[in-house]
Amino acid sequence: MKLWGIADQVVRLAILLAIVGGVTVALRARFVPPSFGETGHYRAEAVTIAAELPVRYAGSEICAECHDDQEELRRRSYHRGLSCEVCHGAAAAHAEDFEAQQPLVPRARGEACLACHEYLPSRPTGFPQIIERLHNPLEPCVGCHDPHDPTPPEVPSSCAACHAQIERTKAVSHHLALTCETCHEAAPEHRIEPRSHLPNKPTAREACGRCHAEGADSGAEIPRVDLDTHGPRYLCWQCHYPHHPEA
C-alpha cells in the first residue's frame, strides 16, 4: 500500500520518528525541573534558594545600635577588629528580638580568650600571647581585662609577652645571655602602641662585628670571624638567624 505515492518504508520511518520525538518531549517535560536552563545549565531557582537561607550572624554594626557602651569601648581598644559574635556566639535572633535569644556570655577563665591568646609557636610574631598555666592562674581573665577593652592593667614588662616565640627560640640558643636591647632599641611606647613605635633592627654587619670581629673588645669565649673574608657580600643574618645563630 502506498500513501500519496510515498514508499511504505518511509511512512513507517516517519511514524516512528514522530513517536520517538513525542516521547522525548514528554519525558523532558516530565523530568527536567521547571527553571532549568533559564540562566545556564542548572535550575535558576537553586540560586534563589541559596540566597534565602537564614542568617545567623548579625554582624557587629547591629549590636552597636543597642549596646553602645560595649561598642564605644571596643572601638578604641586592642579588640577593635573583633566581631561581637566571635565571643558571644551567633546572635541574629537576639538582634531581631532581644527576648528571643540570650547570647552566650563567656565569663569563665579562658573560655573565650585562649583560642586566640594561648601561646603557640605557629602564631605570627608580635601577636600577644600568654602561657595560661603561668599567667595569673585561677582568676578569671575578665577579672583583670575588660573583654571589650582588654588593655593590660600594666604595661607588660618583658618583650616576651608579645614576642614569645623569639624569646623561647633565643633561650635555647648560644645568644641566650643577650637581652633584646643588645640589638634592638625599643622605645617604652612600643609596649603600649607597638605598631606606631617600631623598634629598630640592626642594619649593618658591624652590629654583630662588635662582639664577633677579630679585634672586638668582647668576652674571650665569643667565637671570632674575620669580617672581611667571612661571608663578605651578605648581611650576617642572611645566613645566621640572629635569635638562634648556628655555625
Binding site: G21, V55, A90
Partner: protein, 252 residues
C-alpha cells in the same frame, strides 16, 4: 514474522539517538544564549576572597562560625572551611595537621625534631573560575552563578560524588543527612544582602578579606594591588578566586 520484528527493533534503537540529539541541538543553544546575556548584565558583581597567611593566628573562630551559620553536621569532619597547621622541619620534612578542622583552636604540637617555621593556612572552596567539579556533574546540580560563586543545588543533586572526587582542593563532602554534595558558598545568603561571609565577619585579625574582584575600590582589590598574590595548585589551571598572600612554597 520474526525477521520483521528484529528489523523494527533495530530501527528503533538506531533512531532513538539522532532524535534526542536533534532535540538537544535545538534547545541547547537557546539556553546558553540566555545565560550569556545574563552574565554580562551583572558582571561587575564578581566575588573573591583574599587570605593573608601571615595574619592568621589559628584561633579557628572562622571554622566555628561557618558551621553555625550554615548549619553543618556536628561531627568533626564536615567542614566548608578549615585551618591547617604547617610545620617545616630542619631536614625538609613537612608536617600538616588540622585537629577537628581547627574548630577548637590548636594545642601545641607534639614536637619531634627541630621545626624551622610553622604557620596556619585557612582553606576553603577556591570558587574556581574554571571549576572541575562543575564539569563533571552529570545533572547540572553544581554550577557557577553570575557572580562567580559555585553553588550546589541540593534538591537536584543525585549524590554521585563525582564532584567530590574531582575537586583538587578537597573542599567538598557528602552531607550525611541529605546524601548530597556540600561545600562553601561564600555564605551566598549573606553576601547577596551585603553582609560578609561568616568566617570573614568573625576573623579577629583581618586575615580574611572578602570583596568584589571587578569593582575599582573594594578591600579585596586593595589587597590585590598591594601584595603579591598566589593561588593553590596554579598548575591545574582551575583559576581559583581565593587568593593567598605570603604563602609558603610548601603549602599544597
Amino acid at each position: 514474522m520474526p525477521e520483521d520484528r528484529s528489523r523494527r527493533e533495530f530501527l528503533i534503537s538506531v533512531l532513538q539517538f539522532p532524535c534526542s540529539a536533534a532535540l538537544v541541538a535545538v534547545c541547547g543553544p537557546l539556553a546558553t544564549a540566555a545565560a550569556a546575556t545574563e552574565d554580562e548584565a551583572s558582571s561587575e558583581r564578581y566575588f573573591g576572597m583574599g587570605i593573608q597567611v601571615d595574619k592568621c593566628i589559628g584561633c579557628g573562630r572562622c571554622v566555628r562560625a561557618c558551621k553555625t551559620e550554615n548549619d553543618l553536621p556536628e561531627a568533626p569532619f564536615y567542614f566548608r572551611t578549615w585551618i591547617e597547621r604547617y610545620a617545616i622541619h630542619a631536614d625538609g620534612r613537612v608536617d600538616v595537621d588540622s585537629p577537628e578542622g581547627g574548630i577548637n583552636g590548636f594545642l601545641p604540637r607534639e614536637s619531634e625534631g627541630e621545626v624551622v617555621r610553622s604557620f596556619f593556612v585557612p582553606k576553603l572552596c577556591n570558587q574556581c573560575d574554571n571549576p572541575p567539579c562543575v564539569q563533571v556533574c552529570p545533572v547540572g546540580a553544581t554550577f557557577k552563578t553570575d557572580d562567580g560563586v559555585i553553588l550546589v543545588d541540593s534538591d537536584y543533586c543525585i549524590g554521585c560524588r563525582y564532584c567530590i572526587q574531582a575537586c583538587p582542593y578537597g573542599a567538598r563532602f557528602l552531607d550525611p543527612r541529605t546524601k548530597t554534595a556540600d561545600k562553601c558558598t561564600f555564605c551566598y545568603h549573606r553576601i547577596t544582602q551585603g553582609l560578609l561571609p561568616a568566617c570573614v565577619e568573625v576573623c579577629p585579625t583581618g586575615a580574611r578579606v572578602f570583596g568584589e574582584l571587578k569593582a575599582d575600590a573594594s578591600p579585596l582589590r586593595r589587597l590585590m594591588r598591594m601584595s603579591r598574590l598566589q593561588v593553590l595548585k596554579p598548575s591545574l589551571n582551575t583559576e581559583p578566586k581565593v587568593f593567598y598572600t605570603e604563602l609558603d612554597g610548601e603549602v599544597r
